[in-house]
Symmetry: D2
Subunit: 380 residues, 4 copies
């Protein structure tokens, strides 16, 4: 899977970020442990220099894990020296960016480890924990209504945010409703039973091509065993529980499910408007569940944060007046604003301190290996 | 080129549209000339039945052109019978849809013939006409300013429009400015001379990959001969004239050019708001130039219609409340609402009667073989 | 299908051969009709200059068929002038090469037309002829034995032969037996019924990969209709007759069938040794059957010539002392001596005057669109 | 590189071979350590069951190396029990096959480790050893002549040999000459300087396509640094020494070089005939050079064994009367007898006890990552 990387690479690359954008530029006298790492652990920053083909990450037996740990210790020590200095606000912003960057790679370590272990025919667990068995069934979702009008979207500045979250600007929304909770496995299985994966009329054209080219007939990691659906989790293979949120579906599947259900996905602006009234809490990485949880028994809007990233109906595009950050870190977000869809709200592998109401995650519409799920929306 | 089709196929397919959606359904006693054509000339309507792989269109030596003309005559005769009847408004709408569908394929015949002849090492002209030589140089574009506020977008119904043009709805726009004319070849050559195609920082990530994978270094159909740029036109190879609008560029190139020029592309809503004040006139198929023309010497907004389709910064997505038409014709537009960008305004190969201010054309960001060009926009 | 070309191209290319290798070099004052054709109709001669990508052949709407006929007339007239001169034996040899080259393309016109029409969902016939119905059943093949010993192989020179047929040389063969006739459709259907296409152990590793990648479950052009096998012939769709020779199978299928039958394919040297006792007669292009015929009721060796090219177990390699012809025509054969297998004996689309006992045809092991079939061999 | 595998996989797979073909079949009461390993470590034996896609080998983080060592210890212990029993000659043959199989994977561990480390931008050495600097220049090769006549080829049985080495049979050879030593880097650099990689006429057609598709301009692992050729060795980057045998060339390159040199490659039968007079000694794995050595200063035939596998002009095909071994081990060799060329003589990564005069190694003509080189041959 070209999108996934080994954990050793994630560790080295987030270390590289601090070295390249902070220490090399802003710590006088800094000496890199190994100058070759500057290109070796570059992910996609064209301005930094050549970078290895992505596939190489999987065969980098050297530097060894011990050497990467030594690299990290070297950079950590230098970062302490840097942080002890009187830093300009620009440099302080870069430090925050480096920390947020590292949080993103922490999330990716979990999803990439999951992908790697799930591809192993032995389906080894990442860690072994008891299976608590089924939870109480999720009740039918309620619809939360939001009125027509002008809303503000995007980050207003002040505290840290990625450049793609701003500028804050006004949008006009027609009346809309959001489902009070995420779509469940049980609901998704109904879609499957109703022939969802065999019914062209439910799918976007590219989605239908994708389904047939890849023989998709269920979410990623699902396997049929003795007439029952199982799926790979970081605790190993587990029966699919009807009441849990469906996860590891692509935009194409989210969109087709919504069409089948007579609904649609929310735009990112609708989602953000609704999220104003939700506390930023939920099932994040800190819970160490590493798996989405059953919704609370409430008709209120729930699960807006954590559990699974929610596919929106919005293409990932710049906000009015958007300017990428200057220099190489300007490649962080802006250059990906094409052929991707926005996801909102964070997941069970996102650190809580990392998320914001204005946070825009983005993936191509066929991606499934992140913790990605579905919330339905509807017109008035 | 998988996106282009032979003229014989276009003729057969637009005939098929009338047979399949009108005659078979609404003319009692209609007998198809050849029932096998129902699948043979289907383009992408899954609901109609199996359809041949796209690549097959190029090797369909049978039916011959004579047989396709006979098919057309058969369908034309039956359509006259149908039109003599008292038709419901639903059926009348389908007739209009069929005529607009045929206009779209008329446009495609020109662009596909151009692509086919340009691929021929002999570069044969589609027709031979005298080269009038250079025109007067285009003056620098002026910027037309539009204020912040609520605008209406989309088709209000009443007359014919494609389903993707509605519903009419309100959008909030921040202040913006549009260039008074299209970007010219001369301006684009400056971008090329400045290293545009070699500067990663100017490009979207997917665009940069596309440039390198395809070794793009100029618009489609351009060739360097003895230190001078030439391009293939339907009149054969011609020198590239600085003052003419640049054409046959992808969204990636339009976006990179705009970034290099310190500007951006307009959203489709900005374009539509601006188009309210422009008459629907210009260089359309009827002029039989089949090539974009030099802008008038005026600081007013010009070339909004005709000449080249203008790439916008908007992904092709449904408007709020969008519902595709019922039945198989519902596959016309909605299922393509992913991974494509919107273009506006029509081109020199579009019939004048086909275009509207609300008309949304759409292509993937790498497409170049339509008459596609660039108008710059900017913030306040 | 990248290996097949339109008939117009075959006509232009065999004309080009005479112009390029004979007229341009050996007719003083020869003027090409259109100098651009020199590159346009080059197939694979690197020494002659650039050549268009193979796929282009299918979109060459220009020159038109009329223009190609004019090109042919121009070259024919010049060839008559050339042939009226006193030609050196080298030039005479080139004339013979050009004629044999044209015969090869005549054969390809039939096989390529068959491929193109068979890909058409209408399965149009190339010509309509009455179906004579089943013939008498083929009797079981007899085994013809050949003793161990030294044999001569290859062409001795004197008359025309392709360079790859020589030099004549000695080979030592262990005792072997050849089946008296070709494998029939009925026998091949038994192999299919026995699960031949599903049994990995019967296949070469590359063959098994090919079967699965292409979902092969029958020879090319076979279709199952109402529980019966039909196949496309140049007379249109016909029921598969048990008694006719099986045709349009790849080397992989020929090899797997032989293994299943407890036999093997002959080497090209065994075939050539056996062919010494067979008259060069059979079902060739001249019969205008364009389809293999049922074997005669005889235990003698039959069908060695005509009907179908017989896959041999020999890779296409140079004979000891092989030297390609000098100059560009040296690219005719030698450079293909890798990754191909030898076929012997000609087919129902080969002109009779074209074949020789030493004639070596060659195709990659996955090729099926020529008239290719199977004769079994065995050890002592 | 899909052909290379991690060392952990090689260890597990050669262990698996003993478990699957010996312990499971012939040691009563044998219990596998983990039954899932039966499919997990299968390489290509269709008869054994499903097997993972080859690419998976690179992401098998589990079982860990410790677990694979435990697996090996488990199998080793069981093998000792088996070997203490009174074994039939069939089972004894399987034990020898397992040992020879393991030797093949030992060789592959070295070549695959070399490939993996060479792909690393750091070019880390497998082990660090002093560079002894240039050796004495190799003298021009002499030509050893062999007369026309009948020769025996293939293994006569008795001692262990792979099934593809037999049966022993008679071949007739025309007079030929072999170069007394391998082609050197210096000679190969002359070919490169003479434009070898840019001259289509020197190449097989598939070879020329391969050169252009992969931008080959030197042997694998060669890099140009400051006007000098370096290459990656298991001791790290080293200057290319003129006098050493050229290595890591494909069949296409070997063939093109020979054509440029006015010579050819030997057939495997010529090689084997010549090898009758050479002692089986040379630079094998046991020397731990892991790199080919300079030829001795002698006009006698040298370097026939060890240093580099020598590409022959022979396609890998069955000998007359060849029968693969019964059962799943019959997939060992026979099913690969297509689209590959034979190499002879062993290399510096082959164990000495593994090689025989009749030993047939085989790879596709584009393969370069084994220690593969060139010996020239010629006609009389």
């Amino acid at each position: 899977m070209p999108d996934a990387s080994p954990a050793k690479w994630h560790l080295a690359h987030s270390t590289w970020f601090f070295e390249t954008f902070l220490l090399s530029e802003h710590l006088p006298g800094y000496k890199p442990l190994n100058p070759a790492f500057r290109n070796l652990f570059n992910s996609y920053y064209n301005a930094v220099g050549d970078r290895p083909a992505r596939a190489l990450r999987h065969v980098l037996s050297r530097p060894t894990l011990d050497e990467v740990h030594a690299y990290r210790a070297h950079v950590d020590a230098a970062m302490e020296l840097l942080l002890a200095r009187n830093l300009s606000s620009d440099v302080q912003d870069l430090v925050k960016l480096g920390m947020n960057h590292e949080q993103q790679h922490q999330e990716l370590i979990l999803t990439d480890v999951k992908h790697g272990l799930a591809a192993n025919p032995l389906r080894p667990a990442y860690r072994e924990r008891p299976d608590n068995g089924p939870s109480k069934l999720a009740r039918a979702p309620a619809w939360q209504a939001f009125p027509e009008g002008l809303y503000s979207a995007g980050h207003a500045g002040g505290e840290f945010a990625f450049d793609n979250e701003g500028p804050r600007h006004t949008v006009f929304l027609v009346p809309f409703r959001l489902a009070s909770r995420l779509v469940t496995n049980g609901e998704y299985i109904e879609f499957m039973r109703a022939g969802g994966y065999e019914t062209a009329a439910l799918w976007l054209s590219d989605g239908w091509d994708c389904v047939r080219a890849n023989n998709w007939n269920a979410p990623l990691y699902w396997e049929r065993r003795d007439g029952q659906w199982w799926h790979y989790t970081l605790d190993g293979m587990r029966p699919v529980r009807d009441e849990e949120p469906v996860c590891h579906v692509s935009y194409y599947e989210a969109d087709a499910f919504a069409r089948w259900a007579g609904a649609r996905l929310a735009t990112e602006f609708e989602w953000e408007a609704a999220a104003q009234v939700s506390a930023i809490e939920g099932n994040f990485m800190e819970s160490e569940a590493f798996h989405p949880r059953v919704a609370p028994e409430s008709a209120s809007l729930s699960q807006m944060f954590g559990d699974v990233w929610e596919w929106t109906a919005s293409a990932y595009l710049p906000y009015p007046g958007y300017q990428p950050a200057a220099g190489a870190v300007g490649e962080y977000n802006g250059k990906f604003m094409c052929n991707q869809m926005v996801l909102r709200g964070g997941s069970c592998s996102t650190p809580l301190s990392h998320i914001r109401r204005t946070y825009r995650n983005f993936f191509p519409p066929h991606a499934r290996w992140q913790f990605m799920g579905i919330r339905l929306a509807n017109g008035d």
